[in-house]
């Protein structure tokens, strides 16, 4: 067979999101991959001109449904820093709990989609079955399965009762046992390893030079995690990033799988140390000045730049999302890979196109 050009996307069942990849194939081996973006661009950063800075929380929350909690948290932390608001300790711990729940649901979703990318449908179903438990916790405590809308400037909107924290802990226990059962399959199965080990390898140097973030970077052996900045309540919680050294799809899978357990541990710590008190402080005045804010999302570090001018509308909002940083890795890894490895490699960076394009 000679040269074939495959249009991968914008509508493709492997990746539900619209990204268009022009894959030039030479006998099922990729020689060139050219991405085309813009199918999800909504231009919401410009909405700051017509939405005030409180309303923008709900807009940035809808940049992406999978990392929504962390977008809002990053935005609120930025505004709080700008306005010099000290959030109550309880609110900071609650933010950690919900953000780690969000990370768990995102990673479980990814593990399922990843299993599906190499055609392991029954494994996909198992991960998504477990994920429903996390979503139930979210819905019971915040009111919505995915877009939790708990962050406000100065704290959080909802509180956890003692009963709810107990409920969370017992649910997490069952999630943990069910995940342990799948550990041998996703990490040790012959067919899974055959499809993931040695695929899309990035060395630590390459990964660092490409400017990758998040699990994709940590799987290449670079220890970097925005949670090490000790935002929210992370200064009171023991935390070491999960790092693997192989830098292939299997290592990325391993990092994310281990991070789910790490999140369970972090939530347990946060619930154990949850202080009493207020959950939000009253906000007075208008933001003025400029600030940057960083938070570790499931996909990596998100970066917000906010500039305000003392009115209720912000002057400029700029979001740099983790997938934006990780896409160059894709273009390095794809040439030379087989067509059947494309979904595995594309998913291994956990692309979130709606974040990237906003």
């Amino acid at each position: 067979m000679t040269r074939t050009i495959i249009p991968f996307g914008p509508q493709h069942p492997v990746l539900p999101e619209p990204i268009h990849l022009m894959l030039t194939l030479d006998d099922e081996v990729i020689t060139e991959a050219v991405p085309a973006f813009g199918f999800v661009h909504r231009g919401l950063e410009k909405l700051v001109e017509i939405r005030d800075f409180h309303q923008m929380i709900y807009v940035v929350e809808r940049i992406c449904g999978i990392c929504s909690m962390l977008h809002a948290m990053c935005y609120c932390q930025g505004i709080e820093e700008m306005m010099g608001i000290e959030t109550p300790p309880r609110a900071r711990f609650l933010r950690v709990i919900w953000s780690e729940l969000h990370r768990m649901h995102s990673h479980l979703l990814w593990l399922g989609l990843f299993a599906d990318s190499f055609g392991f449908e029954s494994l996909f179903m198992q991960f998504w079955k477990i994920r429903e438990k996390i979503l139930d916790i979210d819905e019971a405590t915040t009111g919505n399965r995915i877009i939790v809308s708990v962050n406000v400037i100065g704290g959080v909107r909802k509180d956890l009762t003692l009963e709810q924290t107990r409920g969370i802990l017992s649910e997490l226990k069952s999630v943990e046992t069910e995940l342990k059962r799948l550990e041998t399959t996703i990490l040790n199965d012959y067919t899974v390893q055959n499809r993931t080990v040695g695929k899309g390898v990035l060395t630590a140097k390459q990964a660092y030079e490409l400017g990758l973030v998040g699990p994709t970077l940590r799987a290449s052996g670079v220890m970097q995690d925005a949670r090490m900045l000790k935002y929210a309540a992370f200064d009171d919680i023991a935390f070491t990033p999960v790092v693997e050294t192989d830098g292939d799809c299997y290592a990325r899978c391993k990092v994310r799988f281990r991070e789910v357990f790490q999140s369970i541990d972090l939530i347990r710590q946060a619930i154990g140390k949850l202080p009493n008190g207020e959950i939000a402080v009253k906000v007075k005045g208008r933001p003025d000045g400029e600030v940057t804010s960083r938070v570790e999302q499931p996909r990596g570090e998100v970066f917000y730049y906010i500039r305000a001018n003392g009115t209720k509308h912000l002057e400029r909002l700029r979001v740099r999302t983790p997938t934006f940083a990780n896409v160059p890795a894709l273009l390095t890894m794809l040439p030379g890979a087989g067509l059947s490895d494309v979904p595995v490699i594309v998913l291994s960076i956990d692309p979130c196109i709606s974040c990237t394009e906003r």
Binding site: P10, Q11, H12, P13, P16, E17, P18, G38, F39, V40, H41, R42, G43, L44, K46, L47, I50, Y58, V59, R62, I63, C64, G65, I66, S68, L109, G112, F124, M125, W128, K129, R131, E132, L135, N144, R145, I146, I147, C352, S354
Partner: protein, 148 residues
């Protein structure tokens, strides 16, 4: 007689095509979650085909923008009839919270005819199942229209 059997078969075997038309992933994931064990829409014969040529029911999530409107139009045109379009989520209905953003055209119905609107942000899987079932009733009506 054959018409009756055909309508019954159509109602029981809606193969779906899901197009993320610039959604925030919220509704997207809920559509996928419908396929998974807890909701399992395969009970109603729904299969995620991913191929417009095979699909009967088009689930669209998210806002339409100037770039993906052509893709949406193409997908709709490629589906052989009879077909049903279900718009999902506040964004799919009107553009939701983004409808004043500069690159947003608006709801899905600006580009293709929509049969069922499923509100919500994101729409719950139960609501999506309701929407699909409601869309299937359309097959029955369409049949009557065709005969008369």
């Amino acid at each position: 007689m054959f018409e009756k059997i055909l309508t019954r078969a159509r109602m029981r075997s809606p193969w779906m095509l899901h197009f993320d038309c610039g959604s925030c992933n919220g509704c997207d994931i809920e559509v996928l979650a419908c396929l998974t064990p807890v909701y399992d829409v395969e009970r109603f014969g729904v299969v995620n085909t991913g191929n417009p040529m095979h699909a009967d029911i088009l689930l669209v999530t998210g806002t339409v923008n100037h770039r993906n409107r052509n893709v949406l139009r193409n997908l709709y045109d490629q589906m052989p009839g009879p077909k049903v379009v279900v718009a999902i989520g506040a964004c799919g209905l009107t553009g939701g919270i983004f409808r004043q953003a500069w690159n947003v055209v608006g709801g899905v119905d600006r580009v293709i005819p929509v049969d069922v609107y499923v509100p919500g942000c994101p729409a719950k899987p139960e609501a999506i199942i309701d929407g699909v079932v409601m869309g299937l009733e359309k097959f029955m009506e369409k049949q009557h229209v065709d005969i008369s």
